[in-house]
Symmetry: C2
Subunit: 674 residues, 2 copies
C-alpha cells in the first residue's frame, strides 16, 4: 500500500480490501455495502462502540445490529479485526457449509452477532427491542449511585430497511417513546439491487424521521471519518433516537463498479478486485492482507474491552454489596431461571366453569406477573381483546418505564421488537394481536423461530368463533401455516385449565418462541384438563369407558375439544367406545417417545376423527387413511359465532357422523383384507 | 329532528343515527368511525365521487376505498342512501349470516364495495393499485380527443391504517410516482381501540407524507362540511397524491362516549343511542329513520349517475367509431378474455436442456407480453433475480407510463397494489420477490385469495437450492404454509416446460391468485413435461416400465422432480418398478375427479415416497401411512447449493432408500394382515 496514507486510511482500506477478497473467494455475496461503509465501521468500532471481544456477551456492551444483513462481510471483518473469536480461516470460508461466516449474520453461530438479519427491516426493529429491554432493566436494577445497565444501541440500516414497512412501525414507536439510546446510521448509497434508488425510492428520509420525533443528521461524505465521528457524537448527545444519513458510495473505490448495482450483490470479479486494489495503492497480488499496524490498532479493543468490563465488574460488586437481594434477582433473571413455585401460581378452574381461553390467559398473565417481575408485554392495539394487560401497572411511555407495552397497530414491529427484547435476555416477553394478523408479523415470528428466541405470542380470536368481524378476521389456515414453521411451538388450549398449562409450556421453553392460540368465545371447563399430562402436548383427555380399547379416537384442539367430549357421550349411547384425545401442541406431542405417542393414539385403532375449526390439510398425520377430518377448508363469514359453527358444520352432530363414517371405513378395509 | 337544521345537517345526522341503529341492532360493530366521518362521507358522496348506483361497475367511476374497513356501516349507509341495490333490510341484517352487510366490507358480496378491507393498511395500498391501473389503461386507450379513463381514487384511512407498515410502503411508492389521482381523507379522531392515539402514535403525520411527496392539508373541524369540501377541491387540483387530515370526533354527538375508545368497536348501548338522538334533536324512539328530504336528496345520485354514464357512453361510442380496433381490445381485456392462441406462444424446451424455472418463467413472461399488451408487473427490487423484466419496455416512472413496475423493497405494498390492479380489471398483473419473503406480503396474498382476485406471484429462489444466502432466505415451510391458504393455487413446476404450463394455469385462472414457486438453480428439462397433463396439477410423468402397475410411487414437485426421475432408473436396476408422479399444483390436482386421481395415484399402491425440499407436514395426504417423506423439517444453511442438498440428504440416494423403506413397510403390513 501507499506508505503515505494515514493509519486511519489504512484501517479503512483494510476493511475494503478484505471485503472484496472475502466475497471474491466465496464467489458469492455483497461487497458493495462493506466497502461503502468501511469508514463508518472503522469509526464505530474504534471510537464509539463499547464492547469486549473476549466476552461478547458482556451484559453492559453496546449493541450493534447490522440491519442490512447482506453486508455480513463487514461485520465479520470488524469482529475479526477487533479480536473476537473469528479467525481469518473463518473469513476465508465465507458462505461455506459449517462456517461461522454465513451469508447473512446468524445470532448464536458467530460471536458478536447480536441478531440474525438479512430479511430487511427486521434489525431496525430488533434494535428498538434492545433499547426497550435496556430501559426496563435499567429501571429495575440501576440505583442512583450505580448505573449497572447503561449503554447504547447502534445499527447500520440500508435503503432496503427504510423502504420496508416495519421500519416505519418501529421508528414511529421509538420516536414516540423517545428512545435516545438508538444511534442508527443510514448507508445512503443511492443504489439498491435493481439500480439507482431514485427509480423507486425518493422519500425525503430525514424529513420522514423528523416526523417521528427522531434527531436527524446528514453527513455529506460518509467516507470522511471525521465527519462520521462528529455526527455520531452529536447523535449521542441528543436525547432523541438518531438517524444519520451518510452519503456513501457502494463498492467505494472500484473503478468500474462503484455507484452501480453491480457492486451490490455479486463479487466484483478477480480483475476488478485487482484494479480496485491498485487504484487505492494496494498490492493487487495480496489477498486477505492486514497490515501489522492496522491489526495492532484494532486489537487494542481487547485491552480496552477488558478495562471496560473490569470497571463494570467493580461497579457490579459495589452495587451487589449494597443491594444483595436485587443482585440475586439480577443473576437469576439473566440466567433465564424462574423463581421456585412459579408454576403453582397459575390459576386452576373447576369443571362447570365457563371461560374463554383469552380471559384465562389474561388471568394467567396476571398471576405470573406477581411473581415474575420481569414479565412484560403488551398488544398491538388490542389489549382488551387480547387480555394482555398487567394489572397494577401502567404503560411504558415517554419518561415512564413500565410493564405494559403499547405497540400500536404495528404487529410486525411488535414482533421484531419482541425479538430484540428476547435476545437481550433477562426478560420474559409477550405480545398480542388477533391470530389472523399473525400474518402481518410472520417474518419476525420466523426469525424468532430460526434464531431460537424465547418469545410468547398471545394471539386471540383464533377461529370463526370470533363471529361477526367476519372472514377478514377469522383465521382458518393459520393453525397449519404456523405449525409448518420449524421450531415454533403452537399451543391451542382446549379450555381454561389447558391455558394455564400453555403458559407453563411457554415460560418453560428457553430455545424458541411459543405461540398461544386463544378463543374469543367462552368454553366449558373440564376436570381432566387440570393434569400435567397437558404438558406432553397431547394426552388422553377422556378415555373410552372401563379402560377398554376404544373403537374410535376423537382428536381435538382448542375450542373444539368440547365437541369431541359431547360426541363421545353421544357415541356411548350408540354403544361406540370413543376416546377423546386433546392435542393442544403438535410440536411437543411429536417429541414424546413412541411408547407415549402410541399410548395416546394406539396404532391399532384406525377409526379416527379430528376436530379443529381450521383447514384440514396436515391432519392426515394423525388420522391415517381411514380417519375423517372435521374442519373448514375455506374462509369464514360474518355472523354470530353459534350461527357460524352450525352453518360450517363444526358440530357435535358432525363429529358423531364422522366417527360413524370412519368406523365404516375401517370395517370396509378390514373386510377387504380379511 | 329539529326543524331548524339545514338539509345538509339532516343528511349528516341521518348517517350518524343510522350508524348507531345499525350497530345497536346487530349488537356488534363499530359506530364511532361512521359517526365521526358522517360529514366527510356526506361531502364525498354528494359533491365529489362520480358513480352510478344502478351500475356499480361503470368503468369510469371514481373508486372509493374504506381502508378503515371496521367502519363498514358508513359505507353501507352511503350505498343505501344513494340508491345502490342495498335495501334497508340489509342494513338491518348487519353482521348476520348471508347478509350483504358483513362486519367488514367484502368485495363481490355488496355492490359498490371496491375492495375487501378490515386488515388495516390494505385498502391504502389497494387504492394505489387502482391509480396505477387507471394510468396504464388511460395510457393505452385514451386519445387526445377522448378521455375514456379519467377518474380519481378516494379513500378514508384511519390512524390504524397509518400505523401499519404497508401504508409507509404504499405511500412512498405513490409519492414517488406522483399519483395525483389519489385523494385520501385521514379520519384523525385521536382514538384507537386501546385508547387515545397519543398513547402510542405521535407522528407528525402530515410531515411524514410531505416527505413522501404528497400534498397535505389539515382540516381543523372534520365535521364542517364546507371545510371538508374546500380541502377536497384543493386536493383534486393538486398534481400530487393528497392526504387530508380531518380532525374528527369518534362517536360524534354521543354525550358519554364521543372521543373515547368505547365508541370505537362496540355498540353505544340502547340508552346512549337514545341520549345521542335527543342531543341532536332527533326522536329517540325512531329507528333506522331517514327523513324524506334526505332520501330524496341522496337519491339524486341515481339521475346524476345515469347522466354521467350516458355522457361517457357517448364518448365511448365516438371513440369507438374512430378507434374500432382499440375498442375491440378494450372490450376483450375488460372481459378478462385472452387473445386466441395465446397459450401457443409459450416457450417449449427440449430434453437435455438445462434451465432454472425462474429463467424459464422470464422467457414465458416475455413470450406472453408480446401478445398480451395488458400483461404488466414487476418485482420488489429483485427484477434480475426474479426474471420479471418485460423486454423492450421501461419502468413505469413519474411522467412515463410503462409495463415494468419498480415496487422497491416493498413486498407488502407490492401485493396490496397488485390486489388493487387485479380488482380494477382489464390487466394481467404479476409481482415478484424471493419465495421466503412472501411472508412479508402474506396479509395481501390472503386478501387476494379471500376476494378471488386474479394476481400472479412470481416467487423465485424457492428452496435451499438458493444456496449461499442461507436460512434467512431459504423457504422450507412456505410451500405448505401457502398451500394451507384457501383459494390460493401454489404451482411449483419441475422444469422449464412445466413452467410454461404454470403460466398457462396462472393466466387461465380468473377467480383467484396463482403463486409460482421457481428455482434459482438450473434443472434438467424432460420430454414428458411438455404435456397438457401438467394442467391437471399432477400427472404420471414417467411410468413404470411396460405399463405394469408400479411397486412404488415417487411423488415430487419442483426442483426435486429430477431426483425422482433418477431414483426411478436406479430402482429399475434393482428390479423395482417405480412410477414418477409430478405434482406441481396440489389445489388443481385435488379438484380432478376421483378416477383421474386414482389413475395417477393408484390406491392399491401403498409404497410411496414424496420428494420436496420443504417441510414434510401435509405430505401424509398423498403418502398414506406406509409412505416415506423426503424433505427438510428444519431451517437451511448458508453454503453452495449442491453442498446443501447433500448435507440435508435431499438426494437420489435418499429417494431410493426411502422407496426401499416404504416397500418394506408395505410388506410388513401385508404380512401382518395376511
Amino acid at each position: 500500500m501507499s506508505p503515505s496514507t494515514s493509519l486511519e486510511q489504512r484501517c479503512i482500506d483494510t476493511i475494503r480490501t478484505l471485503a472484496m477478497d472475502i466475497v471474491q473467494k466465496a464467489n458469492s455475496g455483497h461487497p458493495g455495502l462493506p466497502m461503502g461503509c468501511s469508514a463508518i465501521a472503522h469509526v464505530l468500532w474504534s471510537k464509539h462502540l463499547r464492547y469486549h471481544p473476549r466476552n461478547p456477551l458482556w451484559p453492559n456492551r453496546d449493541r450493534f445490529v447490522l440491519s442490512a444483513g447482506h453486508g455480513s462481510a463487514l461485520l465479520y471483518i470488524m469482529l475479526h479485526l477487533t479480536g473476537y473469536d473469528l479467525p481469518m480461516s473463518e473469513l476465508q470460508r465465507f458462505r461455506q457449509l459449517h462456517s461461522r461466516t454465513p451469508g447473512h449474520p446468524e445470532h448464536g453461530l458467530t460471536p458478536g452477532v447480536e441478531a440474525t438479519t438479512g430479511p430487511l427491516g427486521q434489525g431496525f426493529a430488533n434494535g428498538v427491542g434492545f433499547a426497550l429491554a435496556k430501559r426496563l432493566l435499567a429501571d429495575r436494577f440501576n440505583t442512583a449511585e450505580h448505573h449497572l445497565v447503561d449503554h447504547r444501541v447502534y445499527a447500520i440500516v440500508s435503503d432496503g430497511d427504510l423502504m420496508e414497512g416495519i421500519s416505519h412501525e418501529a421508528a414511529s414507536l421509538a420516536g414516540h417513546l423517545g428512545l435516545g439510546e438508538l444511534v442508527y446510521v443510514y448507508d445512503d448509497n443511492h443504489i439498491s439491487l435493481d439500480g439507482p434508488t431514485e427509480d423507486t425510492f425518493t422519500d425525503d428520509t430525514l424529513r420522514r424521521f423528523d416526523a417521528y420525533g427522531w434527531h436527524t443528521q446528514r453527513v455529506a461524505d460518509g467516507h470522511d471519518p471525521a465527519a462520521v465521528d462528529a455526527a455520531l457524537e452529536a447523535a449521542k448527545s441528543d436525547p432523541r433516537p438518531s438517524l444519520i444519513a451518510c452519503r456513501t458510495h457502494i463498492g467505494y473505490g472500484s473503478p468500474h463498479k462503484q455507484d452501480t448495482a453491480k457492486a451490490h450483490g455479486s463479487p466484483l470479479g478477480e480483475d476488478e478486485v485487482r484494479l480496485t486494489k491498485q487504484a487505492i495503492g494496494w498490492d493487487p497480488d495480496a489477498h486477505f492482507f492486514i497490515p501489522d499496524d492496522v491489526l495492532t490498532f484494532y486489537r487494542q479493543a481487547l485491552d480496552k474491552g477488558a478495562c471496560l468490563e473490569q470497571e463494570w465488574d467493580a461497579l457490579v460488586r459495589a452495587w451487589s454489596d449494597q443491594n444483595p437481594e436485587l443482585a440475586r434477582v439480577w443473576e437469576r433473571e439473566r440466567a433465564g431461571e424462574l423463581p421456585k413455585g412459579w408454576a403453582e401460581s397459575l390459576p386452576r378452574w373447576e369443571a362447570g366453569d365457563s371461560q374463554s381461553t383469552r380471559v384465562a390467559s389474561g388471568q394467567a398473565i396476571n398471576a405470573l406477573a406477581t411473581i415474575l417481575p420481569n414479565l412484560v408485554g403488551g398488544s398491538a392495539d388490542l389489549k382488551s381483546s387480547n387480555e394482555t394487560w398487567i394489572d397494577g401497572h401502567g404503560y411504558f411511555e415517554p419518561g415512564h418505564v413500565d410493564r405494559n407495552l403499547a405497540f400500536g397497530v404495528r404487529e410486525h414491529a411488535m414482533c421484531g421488537v419482541l425479538n430484540g427484547m428476547g435476545l437481550y435476555g433477562g426478560l420474559e416477553v409477550f405480545g398480542g394481536t388477533f391470530l389472523c394478523f399473525s400474518d402481518y408479523a410472520r417474518p419476525s415470528i420466523r426469525l424468532a423461530s430460526l434464531t431460537g428466541i424465547p418469545v410468547i405470542y398471545v394471539f386471540t380470536h383464533d377461529s370463526i368463533g370470533l363471529g361477526e368481524d367476519g372472514p377478514t378476521h377469522q383465521p382458518v389456515e393459520h393453525h397449519m401455516a404456523l405449525r409448518a414453521m420449524p421450531n415454533l411451538w403452537v399451543v391451542r388450549p382446549g379450555d381454561a385449565n389447558e391455558t394455564s398449562y400453555a403458559w407453563r409450556m411457554a415460560l418453560g421453553r428457553r430455545d424458541g418462541p411459543v405461540l398461544l392460540e386463544l378463543s374469543r368465545q367462552k368454553l366449558p371447563v373440564f376436570t381432566e384438563t387440570a393434569d400435567d399430562a397437558v404438558l406432553n402436548g397431547g394426552y388422553v383427555m377422556r378415555d373410552a369407558p372401563e379402560g377398554l380399547l376404544p373403537d374410535v379416537l376423537l382428536i381435538a384442539t382448542g375450542s373444539e375439544l368440547q365437541l369431541a367430549v359431547a360426541a363421545q357421550a353421544r357415541l356411548a349411547e350408540e354403544g361406540v367406545r370413543a376416546r377423546v384425545v386433546s392435542l393442544p401442541c403438535w410440536e411437543v406431542f411429536d417429541r414424546q417417545d413412541e411408547a407415549y405417542r402410541h399410548h395416546v393414539l394406539p396404532p391399532d385403532v384406525l377409526a379416527r376423527v379430528s376436530v379443529e375449526a381450521g383447514v384440514t390439510q396436515g391432519w392426515e398425520r394423525y388420522l391415517g387413511t381411514q380417519g375423517v377430518a372435521v374442519g373448514i377448508d375455506h374462509y369464514g363469514a360474518s355472523a354470530p359465532e353459534k350461527a357460524l359453527y352450525q352453518y360450517f358444520n363444526i358440530t357435535t352432530d358432525h363429529v358423531v357422523e364422522a366417527a360413524r363414517q370412519s368406523l365404516a371405513r375401517t370395517r370396509a378395509a378390514a373386510g377387504l383384507t380379511a
